[in-house]
Symmetry: C2
């Protein structure tokens, strides 16, 4: 870690930006936020595409100018450069189980529901309601699988403290609330959510608490 | 690693199964294949949902009975239990750059194009051609971003040997060929592909070389 403060290109409502904010807060990694307004398409302007050719947030500019993209890569990097508190167990098998739950959100739920996909469905002639039904379906399927991949007897998904799985779950639940997903079948998940949001690292990372929140 | 051979639940054409086969071949990790026929819906039968509640392949049953899911989690696990040859650099920043390219495929391309999403589009009234256009669009966007995230002066994506990025790229290119994506704009990627497919680890993992190939 250099002495220069890093810059996190993010959007307050982006669930992938929210993941990174949580992890950085847990680990005490200092960063400045550079807001990218996804609603205005700022992720697609040429100067931002120089930062992230993937046209998304988050992206992280390190003190040496190196830019890291992809929230899951940034989270693994954070675990490597700031190992305490750990968001992954030490044992390889247990690490794989935590990562599998996290990737259940990061690959099976979030990508099919994000802004660019819903925008494409709209351009293909689907109504707002059809877009909403699409999101609800993938979230319900994903949350059912997630609930079966985590432990059922721990305060957080896999233990006594938040892990990569909790860091992916809580932003996705924020998204679920935003779009009115019925979460009554997922009491284990909303219990974990309440416990997480009681922690300053999660509360301070919450979308509504960001300076760029509209 | 236990002495018992592990079982990889996989499908010959599944690009995520293909990723794991490549990595295991590179690292000399022995495994038996348990074919799951996605075309027949075997991923959704109750006995398989006990293996993987996410209803997908691959899943890996370890010698002690533990089941690991999600290809990206299995690949990280493989790197941890069988570190040679490495598929990630040692330096955290460089690891993050390789992972970012890999996740560009694993989160931004594959999930929006997989069987269950295309099936849903069909059920929403879209034709085969519209499903195909959908896949082509996401692959072109993803390959453009990927090409800008890798190095342009190395035999493989990031160096002298295949990394996690190559392991994600080659199966996605297989999928691109399968669906007729125009790859003329991506000479760097198809050059890397040719170099990879010359290696036995990749060739042996190729879908057409699997026992369950139809």
């Amino acid at each position: 870690m250099t002495g220069l403060t890093m810059q996190l290109y993010s959007h307050w409502r982006s669930t992938t930006s929210y993941r990174v904010r949580i992890a950085f807060n847990l680990k005490g990694i200092a960063f400045d936020t550079v807001p990218i307004d996804l609603g205005k398409g700022e992720q697609r302007v040429p100067t931002y595409l120089e930062v992230n050719p993937g046209a998304g947030v988050p992206a992280l500019r390190l003190g040496d100018g190196t830019i890291l993209t992809q929230s899951m890569a940034i989270l693994e990097w954070a675990e490597e450069v700031a190992p305490k508190p750990a968001i992954l167990p030490q044992d390889p098998e247990r690490r794989a189980l935590v990562r599998a739950a996290a990737f259940g959100i990061a690959t099976d739920v979030h990508p099919v529901n994000n802004l660019r996909v819903i925008g494409k469905l709209n351009r293909m002639g689907h109504s707002q309601e059809e877009g909403l039904a699409w999101m609800h379906d993938w979230m319900a399927i994903g949350f059912h699988a997630f609930a079966r991949l985590i432990r059922d007897d721990t305060p957080f998904c896999f233990g006594e403290s938040p892990s990569l799985a909790d860091i992916c779950l809580i932003p996705q639940l924020y998204n679920a609330h935003r779009w009115g997903v019925d979460l009554t079948a997922f009491a284990r998940l909303t219990d974990i959510e309440a416990r997480c949001l009681d922690l300053p690292a999660f509360a301070d990372a919450h979308p509504e608490n960001q300076a760029d929140a509209a």
